[in-house]
């Protein structure tokens, strides 16, 4: 059986029919939306079964304020190095009580990436051994990548900087 995107997709939906909420394929990579509570189970299966996604490439957060009950998301990129196929997993959660299982016991690489996601978005990772902010000041007290903290608008008119002609 050839290790195609469809093969991976079928294998996962067969094993976890309840957990897969949505799938899509963009630019040659499939994305699977997983139910939040089942994420760790799915990743564990993908790592230890014959699917062989043994490499955690990337882990990052995202904020969609316009999606009710799904404002915050965590996006995982896994890689099967032998078959050379990547896959993207997503999970979404409401902003209140944003919490998802940690992957640190499966991938040591997840440690700092989860700390970074916590730092940027305030997403808590249940079971993380050392969940502190990592890049920002620990005493800052807010999570700056959330969309409610906009950067300055480059086109605003009330700024008096005629000298610089902006």
């Amino acid at each position: 059986m050839e290790f195609t995107n469809n093969f991976v997709l079928e294998a996962i939906s067969r094993e976890f029919p309840e957990s897969v909420l949505a799938t899509s394929e963009t630019y040659g990579m499939i994305s699977i939306e997983i139910k939040k509570g089942d994420l760790k189970k799915v990743v564990h299966h993908m790592k230890d079964s014959t699917l062989g996604f043994t490499f955690l490439t990337d882990l990052c957060g995202i904020h969609h304020p316009e999606m009710p009950e799904k404002e915050l998301g965590v996006i995982y990129h896994l890689h099967n190095l032998v078959e050379n196929r990547r896959i993207r997993l997503k999970t979404f959660m409401p902003k209140e009580n944003a919490e998802v299982d940690t992957l640190t016991d499966l991938f040591a690489a997840a440690n700092w990436m989860e700390r970074e996601t916590f730092d940027f978005y305030g997403i808590k990772f249940k079971g993380h051994p050392d969940l502190r902010v990592i890049l920002n000041d620990p005493e800052m007290g807010y999570h700056p990548m959330l969309k409610e903290y906009p950067l300055e608008d480059g086109t605003r008119l009330d700024k008096d900087d005629t000298m610089f002609g902006r």
Binding site: T26, Y27, M29, S31, T54, F55, L56, T57, D58, C60, I62, H63, I75, H77, L81, N84, R86, R88, F107, A108, A109, N111, W112, M113, E116, F120, D130, R132, I134, L135, N136, P144, M145, P150, L151, E152, D153, G154
Partner: protein, 407 residues
Amino acid sequence: MKDNALSNILNQYDAQEQIDGQLYTLNFGPTHPATHGIFQNILTMDGEKILHSEQTVGYIHRAFEKISERRNFTQITTLTDRMNYCSSPINNLGWHMTVEKLIGVTVPKRVDYMRVIMMELARIADHLVCNAVTGVDTGALTGFTYLFQDREKIYDMYEQVCGARLTTNMGRIGGFERDLNPKFHELLQDFLKTFPKRFTDFCNLLERNRIFMDRTIGAGGISAERALNYGFTGPNLRAAGVDYDVRVSEPYSSYQDFDFNIPVGTAGDTYDRFMVRQQEIWESLKIIDQAYKNLPEGPFHADVPDFYLPEKADVYNNMEALIYHFKIVMGETEVPKGEVYHAVEGGNGELGFYLVSDGGRTPYRLHFRRPCFIYYQAFPEMITGSVISDAVVTLSSLNVIAGELDA
């Protein structure tokens, strides 16, 4: 802040009264000359032996991911070259390729080959710095002083291509802003002629040097399994024996046209990392040689009027060019909706760009997969139980670049 592992160690030592009072804390960094960047290692030491270490990073965090949510696609290029500033062109061109993948542009073959030449020059510069500095940290300053002259020559070539040396902002979305000029050809030919000889001298100086080998063999080793678990990529992973290279596994920018080898090590220690980088410099030279010999004729940029600035003469005489010029400069180009992950082989490993676009003028979310940030977590595991001088050479051979660490 003392975590459990540390208090366990301390408790154990309190029980052993004969060595009570020998433990001390050493701050290695943030501005220690041997960290080669701004990050802190708090080491708990017993004599020269490291019992525990804790890392503090984020001293030069500049919130690039947040800033990019307010910048148009052209302006983000300048942010990327401040990540791994030892090989800025790879970051720049990797970002351009990500955007091209999103908007679906195919660039001419000549652009691919020019990009390959620039990226391999950048890789050589990056590896030269790393290896020369590893030499310095073991006490061999000579190689460093020689190799920095060759790095200077590479920077002269950057200057001919984009006008800048360190933070290059090289290329444009769709290609290059100008074709290779005669001076560049002259410099590159000279470099290809003289560099192998000079680099051989450096190899002879260190590769079989007894003192250097004694200092580096067995220092800071990591197994292939642990390295994969820690998300290692690039030379550090290959030194542990895994032949993963993005240039081969997912060829971008016509890397499939070139014939080159992927050097791998066995032990994953400092010496293997050093040797893998040494061999990669030779392989990069081979690639540059092939790309330069077979450099195709043709345009040096793709036809993407939405992103590529028109000729200045056209802007003054052609209505359409004026409109495009205005839209690009004011950042009013809308991009298609979509999400894309694109990875290039950076100086330190897989440099990934995860870009989510909601169809606006800026990225909705842009995440940089920075190899340094991911593999630096393994540093405590690699140095615990060894001596401080091993930690220094391990750190320099890992090539942790603070700009990439913190983004």
